[in-house]
């Protein structure tokens, strides 16, 4: 009986320690904003890595999502004779929900996993220790630029996703299924209000923080708990990072929606 209680207790304490460590991690990363070294160039590089390189992926995702929304939306709305609302439906779905969520998930899969792997490899090769021994704050040097870049990129990519998606819906709805172009675009213009856009931006900012926090944390501590520093640990960390980020994004989506609605 005692060993069982002991292991349970140890487990709980370990989990608390991990949570604490994760919390401190975010604190250090945010603190890195006001600490040296100078970050402008690093942030620009990261914007290129996270943003520019995700452009086509997001474009594709948005196009097909918009098209499927157009298709499904038309099919559903036509049952009530409300095809004219297609524009509103597609636009609102994208701007409030699908734009931020899908963009975040795609960027997580592309950039989040790459960042986790990059930092994980640095960890197992003693490069992070090397930075510490050179009196360089590894959080400020490695991770803060990524956070800042993501906070800039994700809302912009989300906006891009929204626009392409709305156009995708237009192509299907208007060109293929015969919805009146005027009705579609008017629907978009009149049903989307600032609150919807604001919700989308707020979500993408939250998702940016979640993604960077989880992915870089997992890479940073790859192998540290087991005490084994090899490719296995990096691989495991990357998988965990993407899964955990995705779940967090979806959960965060619900939480932010319920707060802002």
């Amino acid at each position: 009986m005692t060993p069982l209680v002991q292991s349970l207790g140890a487990f709980v304490l370990d989990q608390l320690a991990y949570l604490g460590r994760m919390g401190l991690f975010l604190v250090y990363v945010v603190r890195g904003i006001i600490r040296p070294p100078a970050k402008f160039l690093a942030v620009v590089k990261q914007i290129h890595f996270i943003g520019t390189k995700s452009f086509f992926v997001i474009g594709f995702t948005a196009a097909f999502t918009g098209m499927v929304l157009g298709l499904q939306g038309y099919y559903t709305l036509s049952k009530f004779g409300s095809e004219g609302l297609l524009g509103s439906g597609v636009a609102l779905s994208l701007i409030r929900e699908l734009g931020p969520v899908l963009t975040a998930l795609m960027v997580t899969g592309r950039a989040g996993s790459a960042m986790c792997a990059e930092i994980g490899i640095m960890r197992i090769d003693d490069q992070i220790d090397a930075l510490e021994c050179m009196a360089i704050d590894p959080f400020a040097y490695l991770i803060t630029p990524k956070l800042l870049a993501c906070l800039i990129c994700l809302p912009l990519l989300t906006a891009f996703c929204d626009v392409v998606g709305i156009y995708g819906g237009y192509v299907i709805g208007v060109d293929l299924l015969g919805v009146s172009p005027g009705a579609y675009l008017e629907g978009v213009e009149h049903s989307v209000v600032w609150k919807d856009v604001y919700m989308g931006i707020a979500k993408s900012l939250c998702f940016a923080v979640l993604m960077i926090w989880i992915c870089t944390y997992k890479g940073f501590y790859a192998g540290v708990d087991i005490g084994n520093f090899g490719p296995e640990e990096v691989s495991q960390a990357t998988t965990d990072a993407v899964v955990l980020s995705s779940v967090a994004i979806l959960a965060g989506d619900y939480i932010v929606t319920s707060i802002l609605l």
Binding site: D125, D129, E132
Partner: protein
């Protein structure tokens, strides 16, 4: 065991744990100024843990490490920063940053810690590279270099800020004997010309005896002996003799252990 008054760093009764497992037991020795100290022992004896304590990467565990008379474990952030600017560390793999060239690697601490302009930093990087025979390789990426060259590049980076104290983790691992000997010579030259205090952690017996001014022999988390190479070689201490003999006998395999494994026979264990 000699702990002179000119010791730059003194380890006083250091104990270290990984979770509940003790890996260092009451470590006591001194690191003299402007000399080469070699910490020697087999893999797993705790010397890497000891090194991590000395460079401030591991800070817990009872005992003290005194640097210039002050306890390293009690340094605040600013104190650690100052200490780390005095030291250079060469990690086992070189630990070069993969996303930048060799010259850019060397420039990293210079760019972060000084206001020197880029032109000056470039020349400094080239000077360091040249010291290590890598002058033509500044524009190469770490992945394009051999293991030995990566180590030398890592050493160039460790020397970028002209540190007073240099820590080297397993300098000869992964190197052929000739390159390893070359690295040893370089360490000796650094001590001679620049008066650098150098601490080397290694399992290579020959190299340790060749370059050390003070030798610290470790086994299973404990210090077996501390002294000059001659003192260690002439030591009458049974454990030291056994250690040296055991390590020198690289060809002889533990016959009984091997036989009992391969034959699965208990009685073999008692035979010698």
């Amino acid at each position: 065991m000699s702990m002179g008054h000119s010791d730059l760093i003194e380890v006083c009764g250091l104990n270290s744990y990984y979770d509940s497992r003790q890996v260092l037991f009451d470590i006591r020795f001194g690191i003299p100024d402007k000399r080469i100290t070699v910490i020697m022992g087999v893999s797993g004896c705790g010397k890497t843990t000891l090194l991590r304590h000395l460079i401030g990467l591991k800070r817990t565990g009872p005992g003290q490490i005194m640097v210039d008379g002050r306890d390293l474990g009690k340094f605040n952030e600013e104190g650690m920063r100052v200490y780390r600017r005095r030291i250079g560390v060469l990690f086992q793999s070189g630990a070069l940053f993969n996303s930048m060239t060799v010259a850019e690697n060397i420039a990293v601490p210079l760019k972060v810690h000084t206001r020197l302009p880029d032109e000056t930093i470039q020349i400094m990087a080239l000077i360091k590279l040249n010291c290590l025979g890598l002058a033509e390789f500044g524009a190469y990426m770490p992945s394009q270099l051999s293991g030995g060259m990566r180590k030398r590049a890592g050493l160039a980076r460790a020397l970028a800020m002209d540190p007073e104290i240099l820590f080297v983790d397993e300098p000869s691992s992964g190197l052929d004997p000739i390159t390893a000997a070359g690295l040893d010579l370089l360490l000796l030259e650094l001590r001679e010309t620049l008066g650098m205090t150098i601490i080397v952690v290694t399992h290579e017996l020959e190299s340790a005896f060749r370059i050390s001014d003070r030798l610290v022999v470790m086994d299973r988390g404990r210090i077996l002996a501390v002294g000059s190479p001659d003192e260690i070689r002439e030591s009458q201490d049974g454990r030291v003799l056994q250690f040296l003999k055991r390590e020198a006998d690289t060809v002889k395999v533990n016959a009984t252990g091997y036989l009992s494994r391969i034959l699965g026979n208990e009685t073999i264990r008692s035979a010698r």
